[in-house]
């Protein structure tokens, strides 16, 4: 019974949501809107639960004096300070804005900027012309990278001055993005969509139950 009820609910709501996609009638759309609103209700509960587990995890770390336990105090300080300012005074409060602009923004930007370093190191390590496919990939990547930036144009034109393709790198880049890139991407998207639909059907029919906390896969 504990298993059957969620499975029946899943089947019913799954089928109803599919049908509302094909029915523009006001009654069917109000059912759709109602269900979408219900999903929103789950959020506040889940968020409370998330904060609770975060506090629990870090509190346990402090109590057990786990490795680097001192940093857990930083987590608590962050939560308390931002909530103490943001909840009563709102996000327009100068102190909140100051913390946002001078703590959150630079820290987030720092993490994002790591991408540049990692792209360089990954490209250096992985882009090797080991076989025909890898060579094709390499040449394509070089053309797209050169065509992406103005300095690439300049360098390409200098290096390829002897050839008929001397001023064609931007065009080549655009062609690669518009044709091979687009068709390969569409192929992958079709496969992903079919896989997603197939998975949804398995869930609606109750064959795939992993989301019901494991059990029958």
């Amino acid at each position: 019974m504990k298993r059957q009820v969620p499975l029946i609910l899943c089947f019913l709501f799954g089928v109803v949501m599919i049908l509302t996609e094909f029915s523009p009638h006001a009654a069917s759309q109000s059912v759709y809107n109602e269900i979408v609103n219900w999903t929103l209700i789950v959020w506040p509960f889940a968020t409370v639960l998330a904060v609770a587990t975060l506090v629990q995890t870090h509190w346990a770390r402090i109590q057990r004096r786990s490795e680097h336990w001192q940093y857990s105090y930083v987590v608590f300080a962050g939560i308390i300070v931002m909530a103490a300012i943001g909840v009563p005074f709102g996000m327009k409060h100068p102190a909140f804005e100051w913390l946002f602009n001078n703590v959150q923004v630079p820290m987030g930007a720092t993490m994002f900027s790591l991408l540049a370093f990692f792209i360089a190191s990954a490209a250096f390590r992985a882009f090797r012309a080991r076989n025909t496919e890898a060579t094709l990939l390499l040449v394509t990547a070089l053309i797209v990278m050169m065509g992406n930036v103005p300095v690439g144009d300049l360098v390409w034109n200098e290096v390829m001055a002897w050839s008929p393709w001397s001023d064609k790198v931007s065009e080549a880049r655009q062609w690669i993005l518009d044709n091979p890139n687009l068709s390969a991407r569409r192929g992958i998207i079709l496969g992903i969509s079919l896989g997603g639909i197939s998975q949804s059907i398995r869930i609606i029919l109750g064959i795939e139950r992993s989301y019901l906390s494991g059990g029958d896969a």
């Binding site: 820290m107 250096f124 930036v149 300095v151 690439g152 300049l154 360098v155 931007s170």
Partner: protein, 272 residues
């Protein structure tokens, strides 16, 4: 020697990247820039709008990825205010509200635009799909007031704006997949015209939409921002950024080429 090069410590690569970022900043180089078709299309679409038109800008990027979309926001807003086009700002990302507020205020001050008359920031509401769908029926049903708490009914520029019917373009400045939601729910369901400005890392995902015409135009990363700045003839952060990006690109190309030369020589040696 080649073996050493092939197994170069990643820290050396990191140092080279730092140099490729810092040096162009100090040199203040001005590189020649050609405008790509997707940027030109977006510019033309906005440029052909009559004054008093309204565009909506969705600031769907967080503090971590603001470096690329923010110059786009600045360039497009400058263009709009110069042409007398009104701008309605909003975001589907809770972290973006302050960023959006900062950039809107900055450009408005620069161009003498007045809050409530030439532009308004609606702010953020939970549930991206509900927000997009809800505004198609009535914007005030989702945002009963703007970011500062002023009721929409008290904002002069919102008097004639009820839903997407009065919005001539939605420009989504994004670092994630918000474009998919805007296209699925605002373009397909309500016929809202959509343009996009995205970070370089997700730009290739946008090409299917561009080809089908679901996007009227596209700004890709720093390059898109720089191109737009060139079109409005106002150099800004985009052009400054593209210099840095250019040299890092060159560095990566150089490293890949060098790595492959070393790889070939190493292989020949092993075979010989």
């Amino acid at each position: 020697m080649f073996e050493k090069l092939l197994n170069m410590n990643r820290q050396i690569v990191f140092i080279l990247v730092v140099l490729a970022v810092i040096i162009p900043m100090l040199l203040n180089i001005r590189l020649p820039l050609a405008v790509s078709e997707p940027t030109q299309k977006l510019y033309d679409y906005i440029d052909e709008l009559p004054s008093e038109s309204t565009i909506m800008i969705a600031f769907d990027y967080g503090p971590s990825s603001f470096a690329e979309p923010e110059p786009m926001a600045e360039a497009v807003m400058k263009h709009c205010f110069d042409k007398g086009i009104k701008v309605v700002g909003l975001t589907l990302d809770p972290e973006a509200v302050t960023l959006a507020d900062n950039v809107m205020q900055k450009i408005a001050e620069e161009k003498g635009a007045i809050n409530g008359i030439d532009y308004v920031l609606l702010g953020y509401r939970e549930g991206p799909i509900q927000v997009i769908l809800g505004m198609g029926v009535e914007i005030a049903s989702v945002f009963e007031s703007d970011y500062t708490g002023t009721p929409l009914s008290d904002i002069p520029m919102m008097a004639d704006i009820t839903n997407y019917d009065q919005i001539d373009l939605l420009l989504d400045l994004a670092a994630g997949t918000s474009i998919d939601a805007w296209i699925t729910f605002a373009n397909t369901k309500y016929g809202l015209k959509i343009g996009a400005g995205v970070t370089g890392v997700i730009v290739s995902e946008m090409y299917p939409y561009l080809q089908t015409g679901q996007l009227v135009g596209l700004l890709s990363g720093f390059l898109g921002a720089a191109e737009y700045e060139k079109l409005i003839d106002t150099p800004g952060k985009g052009i400054a950024g593209i210099n840095t990006v250019s040299f890092v690109h060159l560095l990566v190309v150089g490293l890949v080429v060098l790595g492959n030369i070393a790889f070939f020589i190493q292989q020949r040696k092993e075979q010989g």
